[in-house]
């Protein structure tokens, strides 16, 4: 469950203002709470509840997934690189899981 997410970034050394694309996929069951086990008892809901990405402290994107999101949630987003720093990504779920990942961004001087 807490295997590190797979992350791809279009560039770690973008030009000033270049749009950087990030793709990340993590392992998660995304149990909807609708499914029943073999005895007909509902399986406890366990969804990813939040993803966020920040460049240093600046929020770039936050995502609130619902039960319609597929297992092993895939998130792709883009942002304009305006400063160097650490891209911090965070995943939270219904059962207290907390997964973090970081990537360094070095904006090439103009």
């Amino acid at each position: 469950m807490s295997r590190p997410p797979r992350i791809w970034m279009s560039s770690a050394t973008p030009a000033q203002g270049e749009v950087v694309r990030v793709r990340a996929q993590m392992q998660h069951v995304m149990e909807s709470g609708f499914r029943l086990d073999w005895n007909g008892a509902p399986l406890e809901r366990n969804l990813l509840t939040r993803f966020e990405a920040r460049l240093n402290e600046t929020l770039l994107i936050e995502w609130e997934p619902g039960p319609s999101i597929s297992q092993n949630p895939y998130v792709e987003f883009a942002f304009a690189a305006r400063e160097s720093g650490t891209l911090r990504m965070l995943w939270l779920d219904d059962q207290g899981m907390r997964l973090e990942a970081e990537r360094e961004i070095l904006v090439a001087p103009a």
Binding site: R23, R35, I61, P67, S68, I69
Partner: protein, 164 residues
């Protein structure tokens, strides 16, 4: 993978195959579905309309400036790839504040919500959703100047992906 775990693995795989076969048989299909999940498709788009109206807050949506890409046919309804991008030119003083994706007929149609900031400098996302049946997908994006952009796409789906 050790050989001692092999029997367990095989039993699990056989069980899964059995369940898949059971769901595929026409006579037992409805019953198997009933046992497997309590998820029910929305009978119409009323709930989706309500979510959209709440997001719109009285603003009339603009039918351009937002692109929603979805496959015409869902090869795998448990993971339907969607791509949403605000094509309206964004600037330092014009950004996308919030974006929602609605899967009209899913049990809970609000698939997800994104929020961006002025610092993001782009509004483009991709995601994968599970769809319980064929339906229309909607994306709505609110810009910082108050405009709301809307895009729709219809996806044909054979079997439901919500029991996954």
């Amino acid at each position: 993978m050790t050989s001692s775990s092999e029997p367990d693995r095989r039993r699990i795989l056989l069980g899964a195959a059995g369940a898949a076969l059971g769901a595929a048989l026409p006579l037992s299909g409805a019953r198997a579905q009933e046992l497997a999940t309590t998820a029910e498709a929305q009978p119409d788009s009323a709930e989706a309309d309500r979510i959209a109206a709440e997001f719109l807050g009285g603003v009339a949506p603009q039918a351009s400036g937002l692109k929603l890409e979805a496959p015409e046919t869902a090869d795998n309804p448990a993971a339907v790839p969607l791509h949403v991008v605000v094509t309206e030119p964004l600037a330092e003083d014009l950004w996308c504040e919030e974006l929602i994706v609605i899967a009209e007929r899913n049990p809970l149609p609000l698939a997800c919500r994104y929020r961006f900031s002025a610092a993001t400098g782009a509004a483009e996302v991709a995601l994968r959703v599970r769809l319980i049946q064929s339906m229309e997908i909607r994306a709505l994006a609110r810009l910082s100047d108050g405009r709301v952009l809307e895009a729709r796409a219809a996806v044909e789906s054979g079997v439901g992906g919500c029991g996954m």
